[in-house]
């Protein structure tokens, strides 16, 4: 579905000098510098998958999306979506994709949302039945009924994003590019949007390429991830593998009476106790989960036990904290 090979994008940036003197000087002499936003990136995304793109601010995520939708020209390298160059795909390509930029709306701001939706029907040349089916579905799943007669200008951020996401599904895109779709939204709206996107991905097979700083978005919507830093690819694989690659510890939480000392059996583990609940944080390099479980079951009269998987926030913090870099 998406194939990038040694993809690079460099921008020419006008370096403005500081202060009034500098501003006047800039009128006569402009200084240009090159900034590499995406640096020889190679990855692929299979049909119907949900792929997350993780990176710090300025890592090149949005530039990557803009190249994939065909509005930016790569400086070098190749990008193919549906087997073709997005820049040469023209209107036919645009009919097959959907794009959401969290900070920019695709709705026409001064007309009611429902009219933007009807405009999509005309612009994408949708047949009545298909439009009606998609329309009913997004209105129901995203709870849009009350927003339809309101001009987009008057919607709150969360309402506008729901309306935007509803609109992007009206033409049944095969592939969706989402650039921080939940930025600035409250927890309820985030939940609605994540659930909807996951459902559409699983039920209709719509591919999703998602960038987000909200790692819960990524965890709930995507199976695979690429991580970029400074424009370079530093990870490409499943989210699960990423968690295990960058996290050294796991935690087991046991509720129940302790009958023997556990520290003797797991000397490298960090054990803390609060009432009847004991937390055991153990290095996965030294102990397997089976070993830890065996030790725990020998030391506790277990009433309840949970193994906590590595948290994606922790993973990303480790990656960008330097541990993930090659």
């Amino acid at each position: 579905m998406i194939e990038a090979q040694n993809l690079s994008k460099a921008y020419k940036i006008n370096r403005k000098k500081a202060g009034l003197k500098g501003a006047i000087g800039n009128l006569f002499h402009a200084e240009w510098a090159e900034k590499v936003a995406v640096d020889r990136l190679s990855f692929h995304m299979r049909e119907g998958k949900a792929l997350a793109c993780i990176g710090e601010n300025g890592a090149g995520k949005s530039t990557l999306i803009k190249m994939m939708i065909g509005i930016l020209t790569p400086t070098s390298g190749k990008i193919r979506v549906f087997g073709q160059d997005p820049r040469r795909g023209g209107r036919e390509y645009l009919r097959r994709i959907g794009v959401i930029f969290g900070q920019k709306s695709n709705l026409w701001t001064d007309i009611p949302v429902i009219e933007s939706y009807h405009a999509v029907k005309t612009l994408y040349k949708l047949d009545g039945e298909m439009f009606r089916r998609n329309y009913d579905r997004v209105v129901e799943l995203l709870d849009l009924e009350e927003l339809l007669p309101v001009p987009a200008r008057k919607l709150s951020l969360g309402q506008r994003m729901r309306a935007d996401i509803g609109m992007v599904f009206l033409h049944s895109p095969e592939l969706l590019f989402l650039d921080e779709p939940t930025i600035g939204l409250d927890i309820n709206v985030k939940h609605t949007i994540r659930t909807f996107l996951r459902q559409m991905n699983q039920e209709t097979g719509t591919g999703i390429f998602l960038t987000s700083h909200d790692l819960d978005d990524i965890d709930e919507i995507c199976d695979d991830a690429i991580v970029i830093s400074g424009g370079k690819l530093i990870y490409d694989g499943t989210l699960d593998r990423m968690k295990h690659r960058f996290v050294q510890d796991k935690m087991i939480q046991v509720t129940g009476k302790q009958e023997r000392d556990l520290q003797d059996l797991l000397p490298s583990a960090r054990i803390s106790r609060e009432g009847r609940v004991t937390r055991i944080v153990y290095p996965i390099q030294e102990y397997s989960s089976a070993e830890v479980l065996a030790a725990v079951s020998g030391c506790f009269a277990i009433e309840d036990i949970t193994i906590q998987e590595p948290d994606i926030d922790e993973v990303v913090s480790r990656i960008f904290g330097g541990e993930g870099r090659a």
């Binding site: 921008y11 601010n57 995520k61 949005s62 803009k66 939708i69 509005i71 930016l72 020209t73 820049r87 209107r91 036919e92 645009l94 009919r95 994709i97 794009v99 930029f101 900070q103 920019k104 709306s105 695709n106 026409w108 701001t109 001064d110 007309i111 009219e115 405009a119 005309t122 612009l123 994408y124 040349k125 001009p151 650039d179 921080e180």
Partner: protein
């Protein structure tokens, strides 16, 4: 065509959304027009009623009214709208719609133009109806010839504004570009001073530009004035300049696509 009209309809709805602004736009042109009337009245008073540049007082007042109505059809909206979208990065929405950039832009401008056109039409009709003794009333035959000439002049002007607007991709700001375009248009098209009043050498220069075919030519056709060239020639020149700007649009948009940057993440 359905796509074009849908986008035109949206553009009209967007303009009508701002009711106060819409109403002010009805009143303010009348004030500007009154200013022009007073200026030319003073000039004719100094001439003791004789013609200026071969134009009688009644003909001049008709010209002012018609030229004003045509000039006023398209204001700052062209460059301003696009530059705002470029600065905020919302231009992306335009780029991802499966409709050509030119169609979207022309439809949007047509929406603005149709609304302004309706207001101006009222102004012209009221002008001719209320002050027939001060005006040269166009003849029926002239009106029929005027209509295709006017239509071509509007398309030509829209194409020119489109090309100037595309330059906003390189400058980001719109004021410099818009001022330049307006200054060139208003001077050479005869919007402020009829081209017949220009000295001969300046008239020749103006004739080599597309601007007189956007305003002076249709106004002259309506008032039955001598243009120096035949009507078929005028039509051909209008079509030539439309094709010229169409080619320029293609080249400029190609450059824009190759060098485009989009503001913000």
């Amino acid at each position: 065509m359905r796509t074009f009209w849908k986008l035109t309809e949206i553009s009209m709805q967007s303009h009508l959304y701002y009711r106060t602004s819409f109403i002010i736009n009805i009143i303010s042109p009348a004030i500007l027009l009154a200013g022009q009337y007073l200026l030319w009245s003073a000039l004719y008073a100094q001439q003791a009623g004789s013609a200026i540049g071969g134009m009688e007082r009644r003909e001049m007042f008709s010209y002012i009214l018609i030229a004003f109505a045509m000039n006023n059809l398209l204001g700052w909206a062209g460059e301003n709208t696009l530059s705002r979208e470029i600065k905020s990065g919302t231009i992306v929405a335009r780029c991802i719609r499966p409709v050509s950039f030119l169609t979207q832009y022309m439809a949007q401008m047509t929406g603005a133009l149709l609304l302004q056109g309706m207001r101006n039409l009222v102004l012209v009709i009221v002008g001719f109806a209320c002050f027939p003794e001060y005006m040269k009333i166009p003849e029926g035959g002239a009106v029929l010839t005027f209509l295709p000439c006017f239509l071509l002049s509007v398309i030509l002007r829209l194409m020119m504004i489109d090309v100037f607007s595309l330059l906003c991709f390189f400058t980001t700001g719109y004021l410099g570009i818009s001022w330049t375009r307006r200054a060139l248009f208003e001077f050479f098209s005869g919007a402020v001073i009829p081209v017949v009043l220009f000295p001969e050498w300046l008239k020749r220069i103006a004739g080599c530009t597309p601007f007189p075919y956007m305003l002076q030519a249709p106004a002259a056709v309506l008032l039955g004035q001598e243009m120096g060239i035949g009507l078929p020639h005028v039509f051909l020149l209008q079509i030539f300049w439309i094709l010229f700007f169409l080619a320029l649009h293609g080249m400029t948009y190609g450059l824009v696509r190759r060098n485009m940057t989009v503001a913000g993440g």
